[in-house]
């Protein structure tokens, strides 16, 4: 009952409440009435009977006193009017029945003798005995018996009445409830209907109709207000979600949420297509997610998640996923772990971004960069090989010219021609050397042999040899002002000479006839060093009154292959590599080179700044060098030379030069030939053996290094390597193979001559 009432509609509840109220009220009232009636009825009945008995008794005294049953009978027969009385009797003084009522009692039984006076109730009757008194004397007893069925009948009537009232009340309750339902249930049902429709289909614009201004009306108002609020926030939320959706969709991003306590995982709708999955066919969890991660990335992702949960660092992991079709996509996972108050990780949430496109771009860029680098390297190699191949033919020409110049039989006018040829070849060789230098700088292979050296003689030598002739021809006024006292620097003298040569040549080239070139050398305290006993800087300035440098050209003046204006290169010739090489060399020396100009036509000034070293150290280094050279020059030698060179012209020229110097030369064009020659010579006595090997490294059937190593095993002899490559690695490789010297082509005859002398001296020692 209680349970069913809980779930019963309000209408039924109202009916039950009203029925219960009226029913209990009726029941109470009925019980009260019946109880009261029961009590009062009994008493009034007893009183009535008493009165009746007294009246009859009083009336019957005469009959009793004078033994007149007939009269007594008449008196008793008056009881017929009183229906309740079923029996009556009068007993005489002696307790014998005098008269009875009804007259013909049938099977009615009367008490044979009167009982004690008073009345008593049985279940169905009231019995009463009363004395009959006349003038204080008792004449007899009257007996009356009343039937109680009337009382019961009355109660029955009451009961029926109650029932009728109850039914009427129930009908009234139902009618009332219907009316109440109109006022209570209907608005509530409407409210419930609206609420139901809202929860089924989230349309927050609907409103419940307000009927009365009672509590339900207030509830309706509150409900409508709540709907309005929900509608507003829902619209705001929808807009926000839409923005987020568009953002996520646009960025190909999906979000996920992982409850670490229940292991429940929620994915938004974007995650599925992102991972090549269909929502509904895939149950998201970390385990199922792991399965679609690329096998090579699984452990990494698991580690990243574990580290994130351990709080080491936020989750940030790029990985690949493989969908059913086998397509690989790149993902970027980012996430955060949330902890409860006890520091226990409870939740992890984050996003997955599809970064396949950017990964592809990255890879393409990387490939393009590699390709570009490879191309650049190929270009550098090409330049290196090209310059080498261009330089090689110059060697024999120079050798031939040198030989002819030393030939005293050559007439003077031809000597002048020969000088012109040599000078031009030297210029070309210089250009090619520059090219080689630049490629070396680009490839980071420019090596310096730094020693303490006095800059002054280097500069003077450069002025004399490179600037002198041009200045004379163009009638340039060259002034030199050297105020520096500290002029020693730690430098590669040949490279430093190259720098001065470049700068002076530029000054001569770009200064018109009759112009002026000022060279200043001075010391200046090092600006950027705080040490007390720091050595001062040496500054070399070369100022000209030439064409100058325009402001917009200035920033690019030291770049390779760039000459002030493009047009200028046609007027002045050259490759525009001089300044680039100069800067590289100066910077490799730890110095700085800058250019200044007031503008086009206003001359230019180049300034080199180098750190000086103490003179004493410089002096020691210089002595050794000169001593060696002097010693080597003093010794005359005559050696048996094995020359291995595949280039016939070069071989011929070198052979001639070596023979001129008094050496005996045997030429071999390849390693195989060299071995044959050595084996052939080995057969004879010690006199026939070679004293020295001069070998090109790039031979048709192998490397000069291999030849040197083979010979060292069976026929040891000192060797000089000739190579187009002069980098440090090349030199070290030659030394490792057993060569005593490594000479870079084009072969400087003087250098070769000195090297041979030095080796001969070492052999003798």
């Amino acid at each position: 009952m209680r349970l069913s009432l809980h779930n019963a509609p309000i209408k039924r509840k109202l009916i039950i409440v009203i029925l219960l109220t009226t029913g209990s009220a009726l029941l109470l009232l009925g019980s009260a009435l019946i109880t009261y009636e029961l009590l009062t009825f009994r008493r009034s009945l007893a009183t009535n009977m008493e009165v009746l008995a007294q009246v009859i008794g009083a009336n019957s005294t005469g009959a009793l006193a004078f033994r007149d049953p007939k009269s007594g009978q008449e008196i008793l027969s008056a009881l017929a009017a009183e229906r309740q009385v079923t029996k009556a009797a009068i007993y005489d003084q002696h307790g014998n029945i005098f008269v009875r009522y009804p007259i013909r009692p049938g099977d009615l039984i009367f008490p044979a003798r009167p009982s004690a006076d008073g009345y008593r109730f049985s279940r169905s009757h009231l019995s009463m005995f009363q004395p009959i008194v006349q003038e204080g004397g008792r004449l007899g007893t009257i007996y009356l018996q009343a039937d109680l069925s009337q009382m019961y009948w009355r109660f029955l009537v009451y009961g029926l009445l109650l029932l009728l009232v109850g039914i009427a009340a129930s009908l009234g309750a139902i009618a009332l409830t219907t009316n109440l339902q109109q006022r209570i249930s209907v608005p509530i049902l409407e409210l419930a209907k609206v609420a139901g429709s809202v929860s089924e289909q989230p349309d927050y614009s609907v409103r419940a109709v307000k009927h009365d201004n009672d509590e339900i009306g207030q509830l309706t108002d509150a409900f409508n207000a709540m709907l309005a609020r929900i509608g507003e926030s829902s619209a705001a939320l929808a807009a926000s979600e839409e923005r987020l959706r568009l953002a996520l969709e646009g960025s190909r991003t999906g979000s996920w949420d992982w409850n670490l306590e229940t292991n429940e995982t929620t994915w938004d709708d974007f995650m599925y297509p992102l991972l090549g999955l269909t929502k509904g066919e895939f149950e998201p969890s970390f385990a199922t997610f792991s399965k679609i991660v690329h096998p090579d990335d699984r452990a990494r992702v698991a580690d990243a998640v574990t580290d994130a949960i351990d709080g080491k660092h936020p989750y940030d992991c790029d990985f690949r996923v493989v969908d059913r079709a086998g397509t690989i996509r790149h993902m970027a996972g980012r996430g955060r772990v949330f902890y409860n108050a006890d520091g226990k990780p409870v939740r992890m949430t984050g996003v997955n971004m599809d970064i396949t496109a950017s990964k592809k771009n990255e890879e393409e860029l990387s490939r393009a960069k590699e390709a570009a680098e490879a191309a650049n390297k190929a270009k550098d190699n090409f330049l290196a090989i090209l310059s080498h191949e261009l330089r090689t033919p110059l060697t024999p020409v120079l050798a031939a010219v040198a030989m002819l110049e030393e030939d005293e039989t050559v007439p003077t006018d031809i000597q002048r021609e020969l000088e012109m040829i040599r000078r031009n070849i030297e210029v070309e060789a210089r250009l090619i050397d520059d090219l080689l230098d630049v490629t070396g700088i680009i490839r980071g292979k420019l090596e310096l042999n730094r020693q303490p050296v006095d800059v002054r003689p280097l500069l003077e030598h450069a002025l004399q040899n490179y600037c002198g002739p041009t200045a004379t021809r163009k009638k340039l006024q060259v002034s030199t002002k050297i105020t520096a006292t500290e002029t020693h620097v730690l430098a590669d003298s040949s490279r430093m000479t190259q720098v001065f040569w470049n700068l002076l040549q530029n000054a001569c080239k770009f200064t018109p006839e009759g112009g002026k070139i000022d060279v200043r050398v001075y010391n200046e305290a090092a600006a950027d060093v705080q040490e007390k006993d720091a050595t001062p800087d040496l500054v070399v300035q070369i100022q000209d009154s030439g064409i100058g440098i325009s402001a917009h050209t200035m920033p690019r003046i030291f770049n390779a292959f760039e000459q002030g204006e493009h047009a200028r290169s046609r007027v002045f010739g050259g490759l525009g590599l001089g300044l680039a090489i100069s800067r590289a060399i100066v910077e490799l020396h730890g110095g700085r080179i800058i250019a200044k100009s007031d503008g086009q036509g206003k001359g230019a000034c180049f300034e080199i700044r180098l750190r000086t070293v103490e003179e004493k150290i410089a002096a020691d280094g210089a002595t050794n060098t000169t001593a060696g050279t002097a010693e080597g020059a003093a010794l005359p030698v005559c050696l048996r030379v094995l020359l291995v060179e595949d280039h016939p012209d070069t071989a011929r020229q070198l052979t001639r030069l070596l023979q001129r110097a008094g050496h005996e030369v045997t030429w071999a064009g390849s390693i195989r030939e060299a071995h044959q020659v050595v084996e052939a010579s080995n057969g004879g006595d010690a006199k026939g053996r070679f004293d020295i090997l001069i070998s090109d490294l790039g031979l048709p059937d192998g490397s000069g290094h291999d030849l040197m190593r083979d010979l060292a095993a069976h026929h040891p002899m000192p060797g000089i390597a000739l190579s187009g490559y002069g980098m440090k690695d090349d030199i070290l490789e030659s030394m490792a193979a057993g060569f005593s010297r490594h000479i870079t082509k084009p072969v400087d005859w003087q250098e070769l001559k000195l090297a041979i002398q030095k080796i001969a001296a070492e052999q003798d020692a």
Binding site: N59, T61, G62, A63, A65, F66, R67, D68, S71, H94, N96, D107, I109, A112, Q134, E135, G137
Partner: protein, 178 residues
């Protein structure tokens, strides 16, 4: 149920009958009844105060001539009073001997002397009770006649109305008035 009740009733009836036959005392004799009636007249008749000389005056029942009651009357009035006055019995041998009394019983033996007796008793607050119709004819007030062994009360209404006595209607109810 009904059967049971009838059975019980018939048993009850039988028992009552048996008991009634065994325990009912013998009907009192004629004079025993008349003695009781005499006393009963005391109850149903009011005497004027003038009939008594003093508050302590007893109520006097006079019997003239022969006394048919013997001890019966004494038994009937034993312990009884009239409004607090004791009841005494006085015998008068002859009508002349009749003196002050309140109720005068005139037995049948006096049937030839009714006139003398009634003359002697008239004018006084006195209830005269006889035993014959002729007693009433002569001016007596009440007669206790016996017919078929039943005692009847007969009243001479004129005589009673002329007396100073108040007679209860209950008595009149049971009496035959002429």
């Amino acid at each position: 149920m009904e059967l049971l009740r009838q059975l019980r009733l018939s048993i009850g009836l039988t028992l009552t009958f048996v008991w009634a036959c065994a325990a009912q005392p013998a009907p009192p004799g004629e004079y025993s009844l008349k003695a009781v009636f005499l006393y009963n007249f005391v109850r149903f008749v009011d005497w004027p105060e003038s009939a008594f000389t003093s508050p302590n005056d007893p109520f006097v029942i006079g019997i003239v001539g022969s006394d048919p009651f013997g001890a019966l009357l004494y038994e009937a009035i034993a312990g009884e009073t009239y409004h607090g006055r004791p009841i005494t019995v006085v015998h008068f041998a002859t009508p002349r001997d009749i003196r002050h009394c309140h109720l005068l019983f005139v037995s049948q033996g006096n049937r030839n002397h009714y006139d003398a007796i009634l003359e002697q008793a008239s004018g006084q607050g006195l209830l005269t009770v006889g035993e014959t119709e002729s007693f009433l004819d002569r001016g007596g007030m009440i007669a206790l006649t016996t017919e078929q062994s039943r005692v009847h009360v007969r009243i001479n209404g004129t005589a009673l109305r002329n007396s100073a006595l108040g007679v209860s209607s209950k008595l009149l109810q049971v009496a035959q008035i002429r």
